[in-house]
C-alpha cells in the first residue's frame, strides 16, 4: 500500500528540551492515523514539522512523496491543516475567510465560489456566511476551520486536536465529518488526547509521551497488548468475608486472577471475560455465595496509556494530593 507520510527519526530540539525524539512511522493512503498523548508530549510539534512550519533538528520526513525540508512548497500544495488554535481572521466574515484561504491555495475564482457554497453546507454554516467570525461560537469557528482545511481538496489532512474544548454536541458533529472523510478515503493524520476519539476515528494509533512513540498499532492491537479484560463481581451481601471466600475460591479457577477484594466486591482480570464469567458463577454456586451483578469491560486505550506510562492521560485528572501541591505552589 502506498505510504503518504513517512517520518524517519524525526527530531526537534528546543534548547535543552527534546520535544520530538527520534519519531518514526508511516501513514498509508486512505488511513486515519492518530497521535495520542498528553499535552506537551510533542504532538503539535510533530504536526508543525510535517506541515513545514518548523524545520526538524534531525531526521527526515516525506509528505505525499515530497521531502519536508527540501521541497516545502510542494508539500504545502498537498496538505490541509486544521490547527489546534483558531487561525481564522476574526474581523472577516465566514465567507471572506474561505475566499482568502482559497485564493492563497490557488483555487480559480469560479470554482472557489462553488466550493465555498458546498463546504459551508457540509459544515452547516450557510446561514452564517456573512457574519464576522468573532460572532461565532467556538464550535462554529472550528467547523469553519474544517471547511477551510478541506477547501482545496488536500491529499493529506492534518488535524491537531480537532475537538479540543468543544461541547459534546459539536464534538459529535465533527466526528461525523471526519468519519465522512474516512469513507471518502482522505488520508488523515490527527492528534488527540481523548482516548475515545482515537478509538472511534483512527485505523492506527501511536501513543506518544515525552516526544517518543511508546506504542503503535490498531486500537484492538494496543488493547490486546494489555492482555486482559476486567470482570467486576458484586455480591448480594455486603460482607468482606464472603468476598474473601469467593476470592480464595477463584484462585484455582483457570484463567482468572483476582485483582482486588472489597466488602461485597471482587475484580478479576482474565484473558477472555466471556469464558471466565460462567466459571465464576459455577464457583459462587459451589461456595453458596450469591452474586448480584457481574460487569466486565475491555481495556481501553486509557488503560493502555496508564499501563505504559503509569500515568493517566488527561492532565486535568490530577489526584487530590497533586491538586493540593499545585495550589500550594500558586500561593508561594
Amino acid at each position: 500500500m502506498e505510504e503518504v507520510i513517512v517520518a524517519e527519526g524525526l527530531t526537534k530540539v528546543f534548547g535543552s528540551l527534546k520535544a520530538v525524539d527520534e519519531v518514526s512511522f508511516t501513514v498509508r493512503r486512505g488511513e486515519i492515523f492518530g497521535f495520542l498523548g498528553p499535552n506537551g508530549a510533542g504532538k503539535t510539534t510533530t504536526i508543525n514539522l510535517l506541515t513545514t512550519l518548523m524545520k526538524p533538528t534531525s531526521g527526515r520526513g516525506l509528505v505525499a512523496g515530497y521531502d519536508i525540508q527540501r521541497e516545502p512548497q510542494k508539500v504545502r500544495e498537498k496538505i490541509g491543516v486544521l490547527f489546534q488554535d483558531i487561525t481564522l481572521d476574526r474581523e472577516l466574515t465566514g465567507w471572506e475567510n474561505l475566499w482568502v484561504h482559497g485564493l492563497i491555495h490557488g483555487i480559480p475564482r469560479r470554482l472557489l465560489r462553488e466550493r465555498i457554497r458546498e463546504l459551508l453546507a457540509f459544515v452547516e454554516l450557510e446561514e452564517w456566511a456573512s457574519h464576522q467570525v468573532k460572532r461565532f461560537s467556538g464550535g462554529m469557528q472550528r467547523r469553519l476551520q474544517i471547511a477551510a482545511a478541506l477547501l482545496h481538496r488536500p491529499e493529506v489532512l492534518f488535524l491537531d486536536e480537532p475537538t479540543l474544548g468543544l461541547d459534546p454536541q459539536s464534538r459529535n458533529r465533527i466526528w461525523d465529518y471526519i468519519l465522512e472523510l474516512r469513507r471518502e478515503g482522505v488520508t488523515i493524520f490527527l492528534t488527540t488526547h481523548y482516548m475515545d476519539e482515537a478509538e472511534r476515528l483512527c485505523h492506527r494509533t501511536a501513543i506518544i509521551d515525552h516526544g517518543r512513540i511508546i506504542a503503535l498499532g490498531t486500537p484492538e492491537e494496543l488493547e490486546k497488548s494489555l492482555g486482559s479484560e476486567m470482570v467486576y463481581v458484586k455480591l448480594a451481601s455486603n460482607s468482606l468475608q464472603d468476598a474473601a471466600r469467593m476470592a480464595e475460591g477463584l484462585k484455582n479457577v483457570e484463567g482468572c486472577r483476582v485483582q482486588m477484594v472489597k466488602p461485597g466486591e471482587i475484580s478479576v482480570s482474565t484473558i477472555k471475560a466471556s469464558e471466565a464469567i460462567p466459571r465464576i458463577f459455577e464457583k459462587a454456586e459451589g461456595l453458596a455465595v450469591k452474586i448480584r451483578e457481574v460487569t466486565y469491560h475491555k481495556p481501553t486505550l486509557e488503560d493502555v496509556f496508564l499501563h505504559l506510562t503509569g500515568r493517566k492521560l488527561r492532565d486535568e485528572e490530577v489526584s487530590g494530593m497533586e491538586a493540593i501541591r499545585i495550589r500550594h505552589r500558586w500561593w508561594r
Binding site: K55, V81, E91, L92, I104, G106
Partner: protein, 255 residues
C-alpha cells in the same frame, strides 16, 4: 501552482477589508494629525508671524505638507502590528502553510497597508486645504507619489521589525522609540537643512525627510533639495527596504 497575482490581491483585499471594518481606527488616525495642525500649526503661525525662516510662507503653510506625510508615516510604520497580531491569533500560520509564494503574500499585504496609508494622507490633505487654501494642487500627483513611496518605505520597515520582534509589547516599544526621532527630525516642523552638523547628518539619513521634502515642494514650491535628488533617494531607499522586508518574511517560521 498558485497565481501570485491572486495571492497578492487577496492579501491586499484582506488588509483593506479589515481597515474598513475598524472604523475607530480610521477616525483615530485622522484626528491626530488634525490636532497637530490646529494646536501646534495655528499657534506657531501667530507666534512666528513675519519671521523669515520659512521662505516667506507662514508656518501653517510650511507645516501642512509635513502633516500629510506624518499621517502616511504613522499608519504605514505601525501596520507591522497586524503581523504581530496574526502571529498571536494564528492567522499567520494559515499563510505560512499555504502554497502561495511568500513574496506575493507580503507584497499584497504591504500594498494593502500602503493603500490605507495613502488614503489617510489624501483625507488629511483635503482637510489641510480647508485651513490653508493657498496650497498648490497642481502638485497633487507628486504628493501621491511621495505618499506611495513613503508608505512603502515604512510599511516595509514595520514588516521587518515585526519579523524580528515577536511580541506585541516589544514591537510597540521599539516602534515608539524609532517613530519619535524619525517624526521630529522629518523636516515637518522646521527646515532640517539649517540644523548643526551631526543633527543635519541624522536628518539626511532619515527616510521620512525626503517624503516631507517632496510633499512640500509639490504643494508650496519650497524645498532645500532639487526634486530629482529627493525623488531618487526616496524611491531607491523604499524599494531597498521593501526587498529586505520580502527577504525577512520569506524566512519567517512559526517558531
Amino acid at each position: 501552482m498558485v497565481s501570485p497575482a491572486s495571492a497578492a490581491y487577496v492579501m491586499w483585499y484582506r488588509q483593506v477589508k479589515r481597515f474598513v471594518r475598524a472604523r475607530s481606527r480610521l477616525v483615530g488616525s485622522i484626528f491626530q494629525p488634525i490636532f497637530w495642525m490646529v494646536f501646534l500649526g495655528l499657534g506657531f503661525t501667530s507666534a512666528l508671524r513675519g519671521a523669515p525662516v520659512f521662505g516667506g510662507i507662514d508656518y501653517l503653510t510650511f507645516f501642512a505638507p509635513g502633516v500629510v506625510m506624518m499621517a502616511v508615516f504613522f499608519t504605514a510604520f505601525f501596520s507591522g502590528t497586524s503581523i504581530i497580531w496574526d502571529r498571536e491569533f494564528g492567522f499567520l500560520k494559515e499563510i505560512l502553510v499555504a502554497p502561495a509564494s511568500r513574496t506575493a503574500t507580503i507584497l499584497g499585504r504591504i500594498l494593502g497597508d500602503v493603500t490605507i496609508a495613502m488614503l489617510q494622507g489624501v483625507i488629511i490633505l483635503a482637510l489641510a486645504l480647508l485651513m490653508v487654501p493657498s496650497l498648490n494642487l497642481t502638485g497633487f500627483p507628486l504628493v501621491l507619489a511621495a505618499a506611495f513611496f513613503t508608505a512603502l518605505q515604512f510599511a516595509a520597515l514595520g514588516t521587518i521589525l515585526a519579523s524580528k520582534l515577536k511580541s506585541f509589547e516589544g514591537f510597540q516599544l521599539v516602534n515608539m522609540l524609532l517613530a519619535m526621532p524619525i517624526f521630529f527630525l522629518s523636516g515637518a516642523f522646521y527646515p532640517v537643512d539649517a540644523l548643526p552638523g551631526p543633527a543635519a547628518l541624522a536628518a539626511y539619513l532619515n527616510p521620512l525627510v525626503y517624503g516631507v521634502e517632496l510633499s512640500r515642494r509639490a504643494l508650496t514650491g519650497m524645498g532645500f533639495l532639487p526634486l530629482p535628488t529627493s525623488l531618487t533617494i526616496l524611491t531607491a531607499s523604499s524599494i531597498r527596504h521593501f526587498l529586505v522586508a520580502v527577504w525577512s518574511f520569506e524566512k519567517t517560521t512559526a517558531e
